[in-house]
Amino acid sequence: MGRSFPITEDQARSLYGSHQARVFRFALLATHQPTLAADITQETFIRAFRAYDSYDSRLPFEPWLLKIAVNVTRTLLAKSRRTVPALLPDRGGEAPSPEAIRLAAEESEALWDALSHLTERQRELVILHFYNDLPLTVCAQTLGIPAGTAKSRLAAALAELRRLLPVAFREGGNVRG
């Protein structure tokens, strides 16, 4: 295609294959809206590929990509609130067997509800740290905040999750609290 971009199509395809699911699921956790999550994923990779020459290949790719995803998520989520309430479930018409997955569904609903009660900034941090497995210092850099702020924000988020999910955090022994 004669692009002048700093990444070839093959390189881009490889990176997309490796990271698209993680970005999409980050966005899905952050928004609880599959359509919006798909838009975020698309825009994140468009931005990333365009700016690929500013990526330092000595550093891990995913934190750099997720920083873009965070910014895209914030912007699109803000835009979407004008028409779609944030974090309303969008289940796509699925109709799973109620009895077969009742407990799992209740657990999932409770966690979705709990995530929706976090502030947007808290939710980003929880997802980056506990879903994307970024160390807290990397989360801080990704979110552009001091490590101390990330620490206090995460503590507040976990306290809120514990408050909202007392039963869930009691089960399993190692999560309560």
Binding site: A21, Q42, L76, A147
Partner: protein, 439 residues
């Protein structure tokens, strides 16, 4: 993988991204005036583009690499050796004392009707602030040269502890007794954990610092150090790791000490004997689960006045199915009793504030203030006035810090907003009314 990780993964595992690589690639080099129509959704915006991406990337790439700090290094900043106002044999560094025009609060601690401490985001830097006029003006009292990654523990109206953490490298503990105008620090010492998280405790000239990592592992790795010379030198007292639970140390959590030997830690992420309150009687060398009343769940860090102490049963407070309770002791924590709180149908708005070994305040989501001054024996209930009700109809209280049951601060911000967007409010009538006093 711990439970929260598992549950988050379960929520989205199997969720498939419908966007194909070709959907992305065809838009990468497309002229901007054609993109909007080509993309698969209508939720796009005009004000972004390559310049924004370059800015995002530049900001990210200008940040230090993982595990490092803006003030990277193992040594504290240059400072003045010699005597200091406290007569300690350490090194003294000043703070700028500059007035912070619009402080963005991370946490506040009211230490008298006129004084208080706060952790603030000043520009892009986390720092410590102090007020002497009830919160109207705040001075940046961060020790000069100290980086973002720090732990902070107020210990009085003019006194505080601060630890500067260089993850995986070293820690330095600073103390002040003049409201942060000057800080004294001793030797840096090596640490082996990398999240930059730490808790501080002190009793007289004994100072403890616990360095560890956040997370939800069964036992959070941590190292406990103790100083017997007011923070000038530290020695390792105990440690735990996530892979080998140390039977004598329950893991990472806030610490408090009554004296050189007796202390507590509130373990919120697991421990060898489960979650809850652990006690030491030898300065931190050995720990055991505190003896709590039946039904006590996850107990927060106690506050003591002599042998009297209070601690919230955090799990019960936060539970919608359990009656909130306050634990009290009159024998230094050897035995604890439960006190119920007349919460009714109300729920807890923010973490309760324990003012002393006998006084505590809790704010309900209704704005009602529940306060006790006799260790939970009796409670006063103060309902919000009309203006406070209006304020809380669109805002939430994220943190409270009271000096007395009627005089206190609250960080209040718009619902759903970031913590840093909260403003500082003052009540002098027990929560009937709140007045914005900073920002």
């Amino acid at each position: 993988m711990d439970e929260l990780r598992r549950r988050l993964s379960d929520l989205v595992d199997g969720a498939e991204n419908p966007v194909s690589f070709n959907d992305v690639w065809r838009n990468v080099d497309m002229p901007r005036n054609q993109q909007k129509a080509k993309r698969r959704s209508g939720l796009w915006w005009a004000a972004s583009g390559v310049a924004a991406v370059a800015l995002v990337a530049a900001v990210f790439l200008s940040a230090p690499p993982a595990g490092e700090n803006h003030h990277h290094g193992t040594n504290p900043p240059p400072s003045t050796k010699g005597a200091n106002p406290q007569g300690k044999t350490g090194t003294t560094v000043p703070s700028s004392e500059a007035i912070i025009a619009q402080p963005s609060f991370s946490s506040v601690s009211m230490t008298s009707a006129e004084t208080g401490w706060a952790e603030v985001l000043n520009g892009s830097t986390l720092g410590v602030a102090h007020t002497s006029d009830g919160g109207a003006t705040w001075h940046d009292v961060t020790p000069r040269g100290v980086g973002n990654t720090m732990a902070f523990q107020p210990t009085g109206p003019e006194s505080a502890l601060l630890a500067w953490i260089r993850p995986l490298q070293a820690a330095t503990v600073y103390t002040t007794s003049d409201g942060g105008k000057t800080w004294t620090h001793g030797k840096s010492f090596p640490i082996k954990y990398g999240d930059g998280n730490a808790y501080l405790g002190e009793s007289g000239r004994d100072v403890w610092i616990e360095v560890g990592e956040a997370g939800m592992a069964s036992v959070l790795p941590a190292q406990l150090f103790k100083s017997v010379d007011a923070g000038m030198t530290f020695a390792l007292v105990n440690q735990s790791s996530s892979t080998s639970a140390h039977s004598s140390f329950p893991g990472f959590g806030p610490i408090v000490f009554l004296n050189a030997w007796d202390g507590f830690t509130s373990v919120v992420h697991g421990g060898p004997d489960g979650l809850g309150l652990y006690r030491t009687t030898d300065g931190g060398k050995t720990w055991s689960a505190a003896t709590l009343p039946a039904g006590a769940q996850q107990v927060g860090l106690p506050v003591f006045s002599g042998q009297r102490g209070l601690a919230w049963d955090v799990q019960a407070v936060s539970s919608t199915t359990s009656a909130p309770s306050l634990l009290r002791t009159t024998d230094g924590g050897s035995t604890w009793q439960q006190a119920q709180i007349p919460l009714g149908s109300d729920s807890v708005a923010a973490n309760p504030d324990v003012l002393s070994g006998t006084a505590a305040v809790m704010v309900g989501t209704s704005g009602t203030i529940y306060a006790t001054t006799d260790g939970g024996g009796t409670w006063s209930t103060t309902k919000p006035g009309i203006t406070a009700q209006q304020l809380l109809s669109t805002n939430v209280i994220t943190q409270v810090s009271f000096f007395t049951p009627v005089v206190g601060w609250a960080l209040i911000g718009p619902k759903g907003s970031a913590l840093e967007q909260a403003a500082l409010y003052l009540t002098t009538d027990g929560g009937v009314s709140w007045r914005a006093i900073a920002k």
